[in-house]
Symmetry: C2
Subunit: 409 residues, 2 copies
């Protein structure tokens, strides 16, 4: 891996450091410390709801606070759950306040929050089943209008619609969203949901998200783009309970979905530190076991796979986000040992790996000296920085295309 | 099978028969004989080129003329080949005259002709490989402009673009069309080709055609329709060299592709009277054998399958055309015994079956008597009719929504 593979992640910048009267600060040591990444390193961190709302007993709260501290030490992006049946179990009584408290709590800690998802056939509101298709569509629109408006400014990234490839042919159980997706067609329902979301938060980052990485999803995206749907990023799920894709498949997927020229978000990544789920399971939800232990041997495997996968994604110019679905084994989806932490909050080797990558290998931390005219030049990873000079500290952004900046200290 | 299943294929009509001075022809016998179907019963009948142009030795010509006679006895629709490499082997020297002679010859015999295809990666012009992608796209557009214009009025039905699901990932050999399909994306190339074809024959019937009947093709069509592509009919290939789909699969395919509400054409049907191609062959072209005999036993099977399949399709309200790809075993694709005729021009049982269906079971032939006011009412299959009364003969059309007509004899 060479530094050249990160050219798209970096920028050069020349800062002119001046004092309050505009005189250059010459010949001084300046410490430039990256405090945040432009790249989104995220996790599903639904526990933020309980921590922010203090809605669990004290010992559990302390445990979750410790978990969240470890999350905040490394990550800058979080996915919060908006599954309709959980968010609004009783029609007209959404859990807006709780979710807003959580999103706000994360935002204050410099974490970008994504809401997941606005429209999905799974975990949708069961009370839709009593409605006509026209009423379901209206309820779905109303839901988008209400939630996207309520969270605007706190949540400006949404998985608008989830798993549309399977949506109209999903036959495990009847549900309101599958019903309307049959009426509207796949591209049709995507178009409607994106337009409605855009209407109530025009500058939001809107994702289409799917676990299907086959040609089906490619053709679906192609259709959407040709139909004028403004997709801001392609969401790709990568739950690898049945084994790591490996470099070849990962690069092939990246290659295929890069053809659209759109940003790619790995939205739901899973690499476990346990035994593999049998390959013959088609719907991962069908695998129900009582115990799925994390073992030292498999923790080493997980760490290696995390390092390779994150490195490949970070090197790819179109990837802008990686979210590991379960930050901790505690409460992880399917009971899988899918987290960076074990059930007792102790960090696995994968946590140390991802922390090193994000906080050291891909992080800029330099000390330079201003020249006679107060200039200091450096190259660093894109993101937010602290500049410390003597007892003064200011912050600035390192962005592409903003090569020079005058900073007053 | 009940007559009710054909309601969409039939109409009622009341004819008022009058003489030249406008007096009703009362109490006379009237023979109403269907001479053509609205439904398109077709075959790939590339031999029409040689017959119409008399471009083969005399004995071969006589043989082919006999073949064509048998075709014309039953069918009212024909597909002619416009494979670019065969149609224009040398750039700038298209076989326009030959093809036009053939199309005209068929048209004069009351046969609707379809051109197949305007854009396809297989059998495309090899000389495209010397061009830049921009030049290839221009050459493809020029080809459409030239051919669609040249044949307008003679060929007003086109397979605009063929097998797009596989087109950009087709990797058997490099070709110009796969190259540009990668640039344009699937929906993009379909959109461009349909718009160009429509531009030079606005009232033509334009088809998208594919052998892929999976969810891929559904999503592709969905994308096209949402992107504003005006598809007049969905073309479905059904080369069943590896065995008859059977009622269940056929009805499932019909059900899935009916959801768009568009007419469906079965564009390339094959049911052989020989042994089945092994199921493990993926690209049918890979099956090369020296001899693929038609046997009495398999001819019975073919006849049964043809009867069931044609009956299911004729009963389906959205199906408007069935084309059997090889009319005769002589020169059939892959050397398969795929025809209605054997290699010696003798008709197989399947020929007799399809002739009975088209010319008897689904054909109207009645004698009625006019009433005192010259009225005669009847119900019949949609299409063209001869009306014979005494020594007079006139023709008329039986269409949906045209319930009464005055006819002067």
């Amino acid at each position: 891996m060479s530094v050249n593979n990160w050219a798209h992640r970096k920028a050069n910048k020349t800062i002119k450091l001046v004092d309050a009267t505009g005189n250059p600060i010459a010949g001084k040591d300046v410490a430039l410390t990256q405090t945040n990444h432009k790249f989104l390193f995220g996790c599903g961190i639904f526990e933020a709801i309980e921590v922010a709302n203090k809605s669990v007993p004290e010992d559990r709260l302390a445990f979750l606070e410790e978990q969240l501290d470890k999350f905040l030490d490394v990550f800058n992006s979080a996915t919060l759950p908006f599954y309709w049946t959980l968010f609004e179990p009783e029609k007209g009584k959404p859990r807006t306040n709780e979710l807003k408290t959580a999103a706000q709590w994360l935002k204050e800690r410099n974490v970008t929050v994504k809401g997941h998802p606005l429209c999905w056939h799974t975990l949708t509101a069961p009370w839709l089943l009593d409605m006509s298709n026209e009423e379901i569509l209206k309820a779905q629109f109303d839901r988008i209008e209400r939630d996207v408006s309520d969270f605007k400014g706190v949540i400006d990234t949404w998985d608008v619609i989830n798993e549309v490839v399977i949506m109209p042919i999903f036959d495990k159980y009847d549900n309101g969203i599958t019903r309307i997706s049959k009426d509207l067609s796949r591209v049709g329902i995507i178009k409607e949901m994106f337009e409605k979301t855009r209407e109530f938060n025009p500058n939001a980052t809107l994702l289409l998200n799917d676990f299907n990485t086959s040609i089906n999803y490619e053709i679906l995206i192609d259709g959407c783009l040709n139909a004028g749907v403004e997709i801001d990023a392609i969401g790709i799920q990568s739950h690898q309970h049945q084994g790591y894709w490996g470099r070849e498949k990962l690069e092939q997927v990246l290659d295929r979905f890069s053809s659209f020229g759109l940003p790619i978000h790995f939205t739901e990544n899973t690499l476990t530190s346990g035994h593999l789920m049998p390959a013959d399971i088609v719907d991962l939800n069908d695998y129900q076991i009582t115990e799925w232990p994390s073992t030292p041997e498999y923790e080493e495997r997980q760490a290696k796979e995390i390092e390779e996968m994150y490195s490949i994604l970070f090197e790819h110019p179109l990837v802008e986000a990686i979210t590991t679905w379960s930050f901790s084994d505690d409460g992880a989806w399917l009971g899988a040992p899918a987290g960076f932490l074990r059930k007792d909050n102790s960090p696995k080797p994968a946590y140390e790996v991802v922390k090193r990558l994000i906080k050291e290998d891909w992080n800029t931390n330099v000390i330079c000296q201003t020249d006679d005219n107060g200039f200091v030049s450096f190259e660093g990873f894109l993101g937010e920085y602290d500049l410390v000079c003597g007892d003064k500290k200011v912050n600035f952004k390192l962005e592409k295309g903003v090569d020079t900046e005058q900073i007053i200290i």
